[in-house]
């Protein structure tokens, strides 16, 4: 494999780095965390000016028609800078699902606005919080005269409270042997009658929401893809989204290591920089190993996705490994930074809390190792 970026990719990454360095300073990261909306509208609009919401959206729908690999570079820089907001839910969970399953009409009506940053999206899938699983889906969509009637409770839906459109996975038929049959996807306007949303207070304050659908009526053409095929349609999206999450995590890991190494070089105890102590050096070396291994797997999986090669196993391996590694890396970071790292003012603790949320998003390491085992034919 070629482990380098080409010139265009380098420029994209550098641009994103400069942009976020300038526009998303630590103070804004903190403001956003305290903010009720959970993101900066101003920053969102600046990002939209770059057109990054449309990175993987075809040109005919106002996007750049670049590959997922390019998107992963932007996500990594977002992770590095500590971005929080509805970018991931809109671009990955939302737009990618539409790209995968939508009719031309659905694509046009939704993706153009996404490309412009004018429509926020999310995916309402999980109901228990144990990672995506077909058999946990109990939300129902009943065929009625003028469309479908949705009923059920979705949990841990990112940024549902600000999403214009929520893609909801619901049962339209019998689940079959392992619950994977009979699931359909629907485009739901967040403002529809019967939708109620509660933002959950979480470790990362990352605006995961409970979304209750109480007799929500959606029109027939809000069905996304074939009825009953929702779970199959989501498979690719979930694998890609896992890698997208890893890209964010790798960015975060890189920032944490830089921050910690910088501290170790300057902080003095016992008359020397603490970075000269072997225990600190070995913590840092182990962090570097966590980072590089995670970055390589993410790079490779992203590249395969971008090149249209098979990526199921690579994606599962990636999310399994990065989930564990990023958590370990941030924990080691705290051992190096000591008290200075655990004070609220420290950026490290923000990354630490988000690492846990990212670890569990879209299935944790155990979840993805089980997928790897299945793909190994075990």
């Amino acid at each position: 494999m070629n482990y380098s970026l080409n010139d265009e990719q380098k420029i994209l990454k550098d641009t994103a780095r400069s942009f976020f360095t300038e526009e998303l300073k630590s103070s804004l990261v903190r403001e956003v965390e305290e903010d009720e909306q959970g993101y900066s509208r101003k920053l969102w609009e600046s990002i939209a000016e770059f057109g990054w919401m449309g990175t993987i959206i075809p040109e005919e729908f106002g996007g750049f028609e670049a590959t997922f690999f390019e998107l992963s570079l932007i996500l990594e820089e977002m992770g590095y800078a500590g971005y929080a907001g509805p970018f991931f839910s809109t671009v990955v969970l939302g737009a990618l699902t539409i790209l995968t399953a939508g009719t031309p009409e659905q694509k046009r009506s939704v993706l153009e606005e996404v490309s412009l940053g004018k429509r926020l999206m999310t995916l309402a899938l999980e109901e228990t919080g144990d990672g995506p699983s077909a058999c946990e889906i109990a939300t129902t969509a009943k065929k009625v005269a003028d469309g479908f009637l949705l009923n059920g409770c979705k949990r841990f839906v990112p940024f549902a409270h600000v999403a214009d459109t929520i893609i909801c996975a619901a049962r339209t038929g019998d689940g079959g042997k392992n619950g994977e049959e009979g699931i359909s996807l629907f485009l739901v306007d967040r403002r529809s009658q019967g939708v109620s949303i509660e933002v959950l207070n979480t470790i990362a304050r990352d605006k995961q929401c409970d979304v209750v659908f109480n007799n929500v009526l959606v029109s027939g053409d809000s069905l996304l893809g074939e009825a009953g095929e929702g779970w199959q349609l989501l498979q690719g999206v979930l694998r890609v989204a896992s890698v997208a999450k890893c890209a964010e995590m790798v960015g975060g890991a890189r920032k944490v290591l830089e921050m910690v190494v910088e501290y170790a070089k300057t902080r003095k105890q016992f008359g020397q920089p603490i970075g000269s102590f072997q225990a600190i050096q070995h913590h840092c070396a182990n962090m570097l190993t966590c980072l590089d291994s995670s970055a390589l797997l993410t790079f490779y999986a992203s590249k395969r996705i971008g090149q249209g090669l098979s990526y199921e196993k690579e994606a599962a391996m990636c999310k399994a490994w990065v989930s564990d590694s990023y958590r370990k890396l941030t924990a080691l970071g705290h051992q190096v930074m000591g008290g200075v790292g655990f004070i609220d003012e420290s950026d490290l603790q923000i990354y630490f809390r988000r690492a846990k949320a990212a670890e569990q998003a879209l299935g944790d390491a155990t979840y993805h190792r089980e997928i790897v085992a299945q793909l190994m034919g075990l």
Partner: protein, 388 residues
Amino acid sequence: MEIELNSRESAILEEVRRFLKSEVTPELLAESHHLEYIYGGEEGRKFVRKFAANGWLTPCWPEEYGGLNSSEMLMYAIRNEMAYARVPIHFAGAHMAGPSILRYGNDDLKKNYLLRLASGEIEFALGYSEPAAGSDLMGLEMRAADKGDHLIVNGQKTFNTHAHVADYHWLAVRTNLEGPKHKGISILIVDLKSPGITIRPMITMAGTRTNEVFYDDVVVPRANLVGEINSGFKYIMAALDFERMFPFGHYKKFYEDLVAYLKTVTRNGMPLTKDPLVRQKLAQLEIELEIIHHLYFQLAHMLDNGKIPNYQASMEKNFLTDFEQRLANTALEILGARGQLREGANGAILDGLPEWLYRWTVIETIYGGTAEIQRNIMAQRGLGLPRA
């Protein structure tokens, strides 16, 4: 698990348990948790004074100073019961300052402080860490100028956890700028209401509070000097040998509550506790808790038998705090996204303790001497390996 106590002390421990069962109120629990189990809040003071009236706060102190002349074992057992009950258990006064006054203080100091400490009337805050002196206590710079009948103190402390609720500061200051660094440190007792002291909050990632404390020409009577001048470092080190105590009761309680909760959960139609991965994880925690029990009570046993736990306290601290991190992380692994919910969130499990512990336990491996420093101590003092 049995604890080695004679019948009189066993009876006392039983009484303590009964007391805790009957006297602990929801208000006390809330305050106690909010103050991360340090002593000094309003509810805590009420509770502890009643509790301490029985001599239970300082059972192993001599009776004349408010103790029961008991074994260390009873002391350790009571403290752990308190942790299990989630009442305040970190007593910088009763546990760190008091024993040092007993050992090194003159009669005046003993008279002035010990009975009040034993009764829970007053509390201390430790004043060791400074911006440039964290792990390296010897590097502390806060200056106390000797003016004969008083000292004038100037400088800054950080990470002084009890300072905003305590009455007195157990303060390490530099009284001699010449000579080896460890021979220029003294310990002063300072009334935290003294003019010139400013206390500023530092909030941690667990939402708990610690403090920066600034001294600006603070006058401290010479009578408040503990032991000999310039011998403070020796006292601090000795206290580390004798007085480090890290009860595990809260974590045992959390673990028990977690297991009880998990027994009620079904996943994919199967009881969650029938999942082989979950079984392995919980069994491992069960074993580790058993080890902590022994590491903890072994310290009391050693002290009661005249031995100095020169590395064992470090080992217990590290094992416990590592365990805490595994406990919190394992809880989150098993609970999935539900474990991320903070206190008060819809569906938060065990009052949001899982995610709080995940944040809090980061701090635990650093407070009171980092895990790395503890390993140095174990290697150098426990195994006699040479310093670099």
